[in-house]
Symmetry: D2
Subunit: 332 residues, 4 copies
């Protein structure tokens, strides 16, 4: 992280560097006193979501898929600046770039030779049995990038949850839990629960059950304009735990009692993620992203195809001798 | 059918009635000589897709889901008039109305108290190994409402098919077959093959494998702008049979040899289907459908929710005692 | 429950009635003071698993599927007497008889006009990283009738669990959890997790993953002689919670840390369950069950077929108009 | 193949070599005139299933999984000699040995340092609507090693098939087809259709649907003593094609009309397959296999575990960086 900062400082001296003080919760790469010394005392400032400081133009994350989920959770109330994500080792679905290439990629980014993929987010609000909003969510709603989950958690008993779509009762679910996912989240928990793979540019919400007591609860793909409500059924013997992108809601409200509900819909604030293929420079277009000058990609699916094939081992056919031979030769 | 025609003739004497001569292939309700006698000699004329006669303003189908698929196949080259579909007994996904209610529904339709659901169709073209279009498809491409399927058919051997999305190679499938489906088709063959349920208003294409020799070929949801190519792999020991909405392509071209391919993308000509809930009259909007004056519905999901629950028995929870008791009491 | 007891006392005065004092935890039908008054002061005695009182000849359960799981958990160390289970309303997989018919069924049972289905149980022991048994399990091992589950519980992170079969490493599972199930348990949690339906007479163990982070973790059917070990991987960021038949182990040991494991194998003590079809009296055979004189059934599948069709709504075909009509007519 | 024969002739001169004349249908390795010249005129004789020549003591197959299925189909009426199977390149589920190691493996086999895995087969008979056997099947029934399939074949319409287990009606299937599989066959077609992986030593039959028009047709595991009947329903608009181990029945009877049925049960004649792990010599036991002196293995699961992991890529976790790195580095 330090070397990334030093590089930025050297190449783009007028850039104001900020860091997220909590990030040390997630990795060990957070700027130590020595870092500050090396960069100079005012080279880098802490940043907080509520700060009144100048708006952020670019977010850089370093670490696992969790770091970008964390970054997403910090931008709750308005447009999100483009996010440039580096993996520290393993590639990930949300991590197009390897840290070793950081110099050339940062250069491409600053020189606007990249495009972004706008990843849809969901805006969620939590409600009491009488419909009143609770849980202290912000005006724009809690923002999630992967999914909202209701789960029985430690309770030995199934939770019973009613699902409403645009106010119409769709079904009553007896299950370990339910997932409302973005296309981005379709390769996260929903995939484990048996859901389909949804291309990040498809305009859709995904409803997937977790271990439902039913032979016939198939995952459901809804229009992105749908408003989905998950309400703990009054018959449910147990409350249900909410989790958002794998964490409890940032407001700390964690458990829904019977009658309480969470409402989910598309957020007006997607996350513009700097894309791998875009580097080629050949596929710019002219739509602009807020204050930031990185154009949208045109939806070419190279990154995504590569990811589902190498990271998920999608359709690893038994006959795929290429893979097979490697496995054998590696004595695996 | 006769009574429907008589009713139309009586209520709307200036309406020109047409019938599809081939429809007798599909059911027994085709107008006999006696019908013509009863209605008067010029009351009803045969119609063919290529006819130069005046454009059709409304299509009425009577029969199973197959009748509307058939109607769809007749409109190949331009906008499709609204389709009003009656079931002759069983309700179906594509059959919102029961024939017993035909009078009131026809009245509502003529008086524009209904809305339509525009169901996406796919436009397909068939190509030789060198990319040249074959199979005599029309300019707009072959139109399908449910899905295109490539299947090994009677061959004992798996077919090997390459899937390309927007020109990028997604995967090589060893399988009984592959399905590219519309949201409408998601509750047809794709569902049997393990695919998710896609709401008809979701903008998406669905790629589902049929019995793939892989543990990891999950169904894939693509943006509706995707161009999908299915190409029989040159290693494939068998050709693959094409079927469109359950029939061989109307051009009669039925078998793809290794190297040949079918290309699929969203058609510019959806089918405007008269909707059940729209009858309520409360949810009109003002977008007009071509020459026809029936407005689009606003996407409320009542019909669809009812259909997946009653027709598919979606998420029939084991505890669903309502259903259970009925089954028991009926001695089933 | 009182009326069952009174009936037993009247018809079979020499029978010694016992009751399980904890059963009030599970339902409200537990003998009150008034019951004791009515039956006479010594008519009924409390019973506990450790009691030195005379062995039990027949267990009668009243309530949901949970009551028989509870009864199973009380017989830990030797052969189990036949179990006669009545539902108090809903039929269940483990509840062949309706309480309304109790008189005739008790008569059939006492007069040996019934047969039993021996339901396999699993014997489990819990081990430390060095292999030493912990958790205070009894000599015969903890007995489960449905399944043993390791689950991440409330932890937001996936658990990592190694699976060994007969000492050979089968796989490393990143998942919400893992299930080792009996054929009986195949219609319980395992079914929700995507497992196959296993006939109770099939000799097999079933390993099913719960929401695995893998596209290719298919459920596995093992010979009933297999010894399966689930060990929390040392890399696992979270411990895993054990649950047995939906409860924490009766020894109170609930959480496995990395390195700890649970070993599972077929128990020598199945549960002989009095069967519904056997009542017909036509399918006796001569194998005897311990001290009890109820013969084994011959494995005819009538009960099971009825159960999977009516309780699970197995293969409820969309065309199943019988069911459909009932649903519609009931205005559902 | 020639070199295998020469080796056998040299090492074990008293062994009588036979070959299956039809095998040239399956590969190119069939003994040519030159082979006969080299080996000597009487060194090798053709063999046919009906021949009255001396019984076979050992079968050697060379080729893909199909060659052992073919060998199985030749032994229809009695005990099968042990089968030693070599792959000519790709390993397969039924192909434990690589042809490169043939010398040491043949030596181990002749010196009885190997064990066998008895793979269950199914015995099938085909019946008319009135129950009379048709299709000219032999007395012991048609023998299959993987599975029997009923499939709609080229018909565009779903077939409707009734499933009976031990004479009790289990379900009416609207589907592309149905599979009754052995444990061995569980990794073949049934796996593609969504079935579980069944260990070859589990005593069970597996019923798996192919693309059923139902959300709730889960695969079913039955006791190996079950008698399963698949009968084409009289309502079925199409006949159903039978295939056995991927081929039409050897009697040439290929299509079942409505009312006709196929009955399936465990065959008394399993296939003793020489096993890989057994070579270690450490796990012999004393049960003898007919005239052949190779003992049964003790069911250790090493081979199987290796196969499902390397051949099927069972539970290839996304985090499996070992595999991942190889894929990346190979530029795949
Ligand atoms: N059974 C399961 O599969 C569970 C999955 N999760 C997922 O974990 C996510 C939180 O991730 P972390 O904070 O990293 O927790 P974590 O460290 O527990 O990792 C979960 C895994 O999911 C991967 N992941 C995250 N987002 C992804 C995406 N959009 N596509 C593909 N893979 C993705 C991560 O790389 C990591 O391998 C949640 O949003 C949820 O989707 C959470 C609980 C259970
Ligand atoms: N294994 C399977 O499930 C197979 C399904 N099909 C489907 O059959 C369709 C052709 O239908 P028909 O000419 O009526 O043939 P058909 O008479 O063979 O009926 C197929 C069944 O699918 C139903 N169906 C058709 N479209 C549907 C939709 N969009 N949503 C829900 N259900 C639907 C029909 O009502 C009928 O029950 C094809 O487009 C294909 O989707 C075709 C072959 C195999
Ligand atoms: N997501 C899920 O499906 C979950 C299922 N369970 C199951 O609950 C069982 C405990 O049952 P209860 O104490 O009654 O808890 P419970 O009151 O939470 O009920 C669980 C449901 O499973 C049913 N059930 C239990 N055993 C069954 C069997 N062998 N076949 C078919 N259905 C069965 C019960 O009738 C009840 O509907 C556990 O052994 C586990 O199998 C537990 C947690 C989650
Ligand atoms: N969609 C599918 O998966 C289909 C599968 N098959 C299977 O093909 C078998 C016939 O095999 P071939 O004559 O070689 O035809 P084939 O050359 O078409 O090969 C089928 C594939 O199945 C593999 N296979 C065969 N038996 C296996 C087993 N027990 N476990 C794991 N893999 C196995 C073969 O190695 C080959 O890769 C049939 O018994 C049937 O199981 C047949 C048709 C469709």
């Amino acid at each position: 992280m330090l070397s990334v900062m030093k590089y930025l400082k050297k190449m783009y001296p007028t850039v104001q560097l900020l860091y997220e003080p909590e990030s040390s919760l997630y990795d060990d790469h957070h700027p130590s006193t020595s870092a500050r010394t090396e960069l100079g005392p005012n080279a880098i400032d802490p940043w907080s979501p509520d700060s009144n400081s100048a708006p952020v133009d670019l977010v850089i994350t370093l670490g696992g898929d969790g770091t970008i989920l964390r970054a997403s959770s910090l931008f709750k109330t308005g447009p999100v600046p483009p996010v440039l994500s580096f993996s520290m080792g393993t590639l990930g679905f949300l991590l197009p770039f390897d840290i070793h290439d950081f110099q050339s990629i940062i250069r491409d980014t600053f020189e606007q030779r990249v495009t972004v993929l706008k990843r849809m987010r969901l805006a969620c609000t939590i409600h009491d049995a009488d419909g009143k909003e609770i849980g202290g969510s912000t005006s724009a709603g809690l923002q999630v990038m992967n999914e909202v989950v209701l789960h029985r958690g430690r309770s030995p008993h199934l939770s019973i949850v009613d699902v409403l779509v645009d106010g119409v009762h769709l079904t009553e679910a007896f299950a370990d839990g339910l997932i409302v996912s973005t296309p981005t989240g379709s390769t996260a928990y929903s995939l484990s629960a048996g859901g389909p793979i949804v291309h990040p540019l498809a305009k859709a919400l995904l409803l997937s059950p977790i271990s439902p007591r039913s032979l016939s609860f198939r995952p459901v793909v809804l229009p992105e304009t749908s408003k989905v409500t998950l309400m703990v059924n009054s018959k449910s013997r147990t409350p249900a735990e909410i989790s958002m992108d794998g964490h409890e809601p940032s407001t700390g409200f964690r458990v829904l009692s019977p009658g309480q509900s969470v409402k989910v819909q598309e957020s007006p604030y997607p996350i513009p993620c700097v894309r791998r293929t875009s580097i080629a420079g050949s596929e710019m277009n002219s739509e602009r992203n807020g204050d930031c000058d990185i154009p949208d990609g045109d939806g070419r699916s190279d990154d995504w195809v590569r990811d589902i094939n190498t990271l998920l081992q999608f359709n690893a056919t038994f006959r795929n001798k290429g893979i097979l031979k490697q496995i054998q030769s590696s004595g695996n």
